[in-house]
Amino acid sequence: MTRVVHPRTFGSDLNMTAFIQYTVQGLAAGGFYALAALGLAIIFGALGVVNFAHGSAYMLGAVLSAVLLTTLNVHFWAALVIVPLLMFAFGILIERLLVRWLLRLDVLYNFLLTFGLSLVLVDVVKNLYGVSGLPYEQPAGLQGLIHVGGVTLPKYQLFVFVFSVLVCVIVWVLLTRTRAGMIVRAATEDPDRARALGINVSRWITPVFGFGIAVAALSGVLAAPFRAITATMGTNFVIILFAIVVIGGLGSILGAVVAGFLVGLVEAYGQAYAGTFAQIAIFILMVIVILVRPAGLFGRRDAA
């Protein structure tokens, strides 16, 4: 395509290209956030637990895929399936051994319990694999750049965005269109009535916890080729997840996903245009939401 570039419009064209690149970068980061926040929201909905160890599940997802690659040569595409399955089992174990005993008590106790758990997990990984990042290269076929309508974009970022949207849609369909999803939603909305209808609520709760952990781990696998894989990669992440669910409304799954992408975009634009104070932009967004809609964008007022 040959075009005469006028000196004056050249600048704005460049700005536009950069803007699109930042947008894609934000949507990729938003994909990590949306998936993990989705898991957090599902766990909160079904168990009433705010899982502090969610960041650790994300971290373990990334660390496991790196370790599986170097030891057993399990490549990225296999890790996308295997790691969430392993973490599903891990989540079930955690629910059965620890979380379950505090479900009848105040929510704060499980918050503290999972906080303690995350301290343990982070330091175990630190002791096993050190503090420097583990290596992981982008999977073949997703390396390099792609040209879309005159804009050059990293393939992997586009993949992350599309894949995470896909997973969110699949989870949405599972929850709204299948019998299992219906039962989980019933158990979430009104556990007592679900019990009265003959549903064994506590039997459904355990896999839901495992599922939430698995989704967070999936987000970690996606992040592995993209972010530095360290023991502490989940700690700041989980705090941003909390900001996301406050923005989206804690009880709302849709809110978690939308706010996840929103925060990803805010972060990317912040990094591009506000420099060092980028991360603060997320919290400013949270403040605005608290002031204007205290229950969150998609939260119900009574859920506050």
Binding site: L108, Y109, L112, G116, V120, D123, V124, L250, I280, P294
Partner: protein, 357 residues
Amino acid sequence: MTNPTLPTAVPSDLSLDPVAARGRLVRRLVLLGIGVLAALVLPLVIYPPVASDILAWALFALSVDLLLGFTGLLSFGHAAFWGGSAYVTGIIAIRLGVPFPVAILGGMIFAMAIAVPIGYLSVRRSGIYFAMVTLAFAQMIYFVANQWLDVTGGENGLQGVPVSFFGISAVETDSFTFYYAALVLIVIGMVAGWRIVHSPFGRVLTAIRDNSARARALGYDVERYKLIAFVLSAGLAGLAGGVFTISHGFVSLQEVDWPTSGKVVLMTVIGGIGTLWGGAIGAAVIVLLEDQLSSSGFEGTGIITGAIFIIVVLLFRRGIWGTAQNGFDRIRRALAVRAQRKRNGDSAVATRIDDGS
């Protein structure tokens, strides 16, 4: 939102019986004596800078308990006030060279000042939301401290915070003597905390904790009370953070980071939520443990503290002080029942033993 399952330390026997009241007084005086004695001999038993650490963390834990145990709010962002005050105290001490209590006062005022907007936004949410929102705000303070290199030194922190104390060199150079100067400040903070809890204002806070809807129905402005409690708590945390800074002579970024918020909650829970003094025991346990672990070269402190956290939350939710108090009450009741039985000549005793657990 009420927190029906948070253990409370409000004595179940608020009887006006003079004998019981005298018993309580004796018990309190004995405990006070033990506490004062322990605080006085501490730097003789352990390395004085570590003893000063315990003091600072003890007041910090008390400030958290003021919110968690007596207002029903779990702040997971108290590092903002401890660390915020640490920076301001350090900056004042370095740039102005004023006596350290003045620098600490400046840090305290700063902590209370940032607590006003943070608290205003956070108290709109209760329960778990409050914990998440305070954590997020504290992280915001962390980012500012990390990026604002000219003022905070970023990752390097603030080095060379002087100890200036009216030219009294014993306090300025000797960590043993400094401990006692710090003790005075910490005790002032603790007495303030005790006064807050046992004032009419503190009673309203307890009412809000137990049933905020009823407190509201009785005409109390629940949000305003929570906000005031939050700011007061931040002030105490700031006092503790200031003492910590002067004692160490530097401020690191770690003071505003989220593990600090978690650590102080851990101390409060280990000591016993709603016991006010339990936090001091929790602080002593954790500070000594971490000191031992780091001097033995063990890398995974988080594994130990995290595991303690999990065990305490699962099995000892009353904490050390709460469990001791509970045990003491049981023994006392058992003795009372026995005395009753003797008096009644072993006639059928239908006294219900309510151990409150």
